[in-house]
Point group: C2
Chain length 252, copies 2
């Protein structure tokens, strides 16, 4: 099993550290986790429905979706994961998958064995707490997504998604116009928003009228404030602006 330590898991540690307080030693235990590199191609399931896994995945590069579908095979992407995320961290406590995980674009993953994660979580309650917290942030994003699909029209939905992804990619939104890559097709955008590809296309045309475009997998935002207004977006659920003194550690 390859060990590609600091170079690889540092972003994950940074993310945990942005919301949780970990000691030097605990941080080192995270960086020391053993990993195995895996490449996945676009549209490749790397976790399938019902599969029981013995490792969690960390995204180094690319874009990953959590896929569900109804009985007619219509797909719904219930979560997107970008570099630094662990899409199935939850599998540590719930190893049988109830959703599939699929790469939307060519992606590089690190597989971290459950045994290792369990080891550090059991030995260091603060790490267990940080991992649990990270899962709960994902869960808050899910809840927000229900609001988005249940109570916003197509234009707002797409705008909201673009706002969310801009924030998660840490695009500095102050100096407009900004642009960032979002490596997905309009088809996949439809699977995220619960719309049809045709309607996504029409909706993007409407968005262009307020200065936000999505072409060749690049999002370009001319007027951030306006996009936020249209998308009815409030970033607080992302928990991405926790100030250092607000970080939490529940065990001493």
């Amino acid at each position: 099993m390859l060990k590609e330590r600091q170079a690889n898991l540092q972003p994950f540690l940074d993310r945990l550290g942005s919301r949780s307080l970990l000691s030097e030693r605990e941080q080192q235990r995270i960086l020391d986790l053993p990993v195995r590199v895996r490449q996945v191609r676009p549209n490749e399931d790397f976790v399938s429905l019902g599969q029981t896994v013995d490792h969690s995945c960390y995204v180094v590069e690319g874009l990953v979706g959590r896929f569900d579908q109804n009985s007619r095979g219509e797909r719904q992407i219930t979560a997107l994961h970008i570099p630094g995320d662990m899409p199935d961290l939850h599998s540590v406590v719930q190893p049988t998958a109830t959703s599939a995980l699929q790469a939307l674009s060519t992606s590089t993953l690190l597989q971290v064995p459950h045994a290792a994660l369990r080891g550090v979580a059991g030995a260091h309650p603060a790490i267990a707490e940080a991992l649990w917290r990270d899962c709960m942030v994902d869960s808050m994003v899910l809840a927000q997504w229900i609001v988005n699909i249940g109570r916003r029209d197509a234009l707002s939905r797409v705008a909201h998604l673009l706002c969310e992804m801009a924030c998660r990619y840490k695009v500095s939104v102050e100096d407009a116009p900004v642009q960032f890559q979002l490596a997905m097709t309009q088809n996949q955008l439809a699977d995220v928003t619960g719309l049809t590809p045709v309607h996504v296309n029409r909706t993007l045309k409407k968005l262009a009228a307020i200065g936000t475009t999505f072409r060749n997998r690049v999002v370009r935002i001319e007027d951030w404030e306006e996009l936020v207004r249209v998308g009815d977006f409030d970033r607080s659920y992302l928990q991405d602006t926790v100030r250092p003194e607000q970080r939490i550690r529940i065990v001493q």
Copy 2:
């Protein structure tokens, strides 16, 4: 602070125990958690948006919803919680609420101080694990709800909800016709399903045609198989049929 031990938290312990393995001693630590009783009336928020809480709530009696809304004030209920649930167990690691919690019917809650939960979780990794796992089951229900709203029509959505609630109430679905109480109005049903109250009413009329009725807050199901078919329901995401030998304990 009242201690109403065995009599009260036993159902919560039962639930944890249905998916996780806890030793006698660990089980006792759960039962020994200090609690304070609280009564809430229908439509009363007991956790409001943005509030930072120092305790989690356990539902003894009644029905509780997790409420979000868009900027136009249209409400979306993102989760329902029934007796035995802890609607904001996640607040142990994420004490600032991103959704409100409101009673749908008169409810009895037990407030469990975070300090106590943190104490047992820190001292017993297996308890931390069981609590984390319980949160993740809630999260899977959220994901399934996204599929429901994003990719099913009104009839399926309502049918799916009724199936889910029947299972969670442990209605024994074999001996039809079955009936159970679901203490919510058609209005609240609309807030759960992302529909309008008018359309919920029409949809219920359609459901009646296949032998499922909802009147006076009582659900009556004549043909379970048919309801499952219409609702496109697969209970596996509820993790409610974990056999004893499948229960998990990741720390020794």
